[in-house]
Symmetry: C2
């Protein structure tokens, strides 16, 4: 009972994503995921509480990474630059697994309940970043505005990174979206902007 299995978490994750893509998230069972990974259901539940958590297990690590990145910046950094630096610190986590990110996004877009869960994840990230800014002495509403717009920039850059074929890096797209945000917020973006 309970022998060690090499890369059990990775195998379960890949098996789950493949099945969610083939049959849909709602039509996949934990038993099927375990079987596809060559593991037992018991092993599955050692790593994940349910089949949804396979898609959201990384949220805690991402939040910790973003909050730590904000805390590590020099006190002089403006809030929006703190957001840009924090998001930049997290890009490696996604860049090293672009295929995984693409597959995960497709599964989420196919299921309204998962889309809702993703929104909640992003809202929690924004709240945690606003807290991190407040701890640096940034007051509201600047802290909330910087955090919410930072997450909006990230979401939009991430969707472009997933969908585009010319393979700019996520980091490049985040920088571009922050520049675009500056143009949008200043009112210098007109109908003809791209």
């Amino acid at each position: 009972m309970g022998r060690w299995e090499p890369d059990a978490r990775g195998r379960l994750e890949r098996a789950a994503l493949a099945l969610y893509e083939e049959r849909g998230f709602e039509h996949t069972t934990v038993a099927e995921i375990a079987a596809r990974a060559g593991l037992t259901e018991r092993t599955f539940f050692r790593y994940f509480t349910d089949k949804r958590e396979v898609l959201f297990a990384g949220a805690g690590a991402l939040q910790g990474l973003l909050v730590d990145a904000v805390a590590d910046l020099p006190p002089s950094a403006a809030p929006i630059d703190a957001m840009a630096a924090a998001l930049d610190a997290a890009t490696g986590m996604f860049e090293e697994r672009r295929d995984h990110a693409v597959q995960r996004q497709a599964v989420i877009l196919a299921n309204p309940e998962l889309q809702e869960r993703e929104l909640i994840k992003l809202a929690r990230l924004a709240a945690a970043l606003a807290d991190a800014l407040r701890q640096r002495g940034v007051r509201d509403p600047a802290a909330s505005l910087a955090a919410e717009t930072g997450i909006a920039v990230f979401k939009i850059a991430f969707e472009r990174w997933i969908s585009e074929t010319n393979r700019r890096t996520l980091s490049q797209l985040i920088h571009e979206s922050f520049e675009e945000l500056k143009a949008v917020a200043s009112g210098s973006t007109s109908r003809s902007s791209s």
Copy 2:
């Protein structure tokens, strides 16, 4: 069976909010709401599909109002100004019922499931506004960025309006938050900003 009751919708709404505040949303039943309003459950279900909808029935009207306001603007309006104008068009809907808004917000903040539902409502509003901007010829990512930041500004201004005691109008707070957004996005907001 089915006699007409004056202001049935308003009576049900007020009874529901009072009960959600007194006992908590999760501990209130439709039967109790109807009884408090002096109406039948059958009448309740003529207006609302369930007890949650009492809190979210206005979302469709709000979305229509915002989208129409964007469509009515002159073609020259910059996307962020289109957002400001659209949100300004909607303030009357809230201003005329501030007590209702305060009570509703307290009920939502007390219940995680309702908070999630509120986030989803705001995300849908942002998606609808981005669509409205695209129909005016605004391209992405400017359309998505303007819509997402516009909704972030609204959310933050709304929370300030609900919580503050000096009674600035929602319209004033929205204008201030857009100004603050410009300062935040340009990086001119530092730690000491308020």
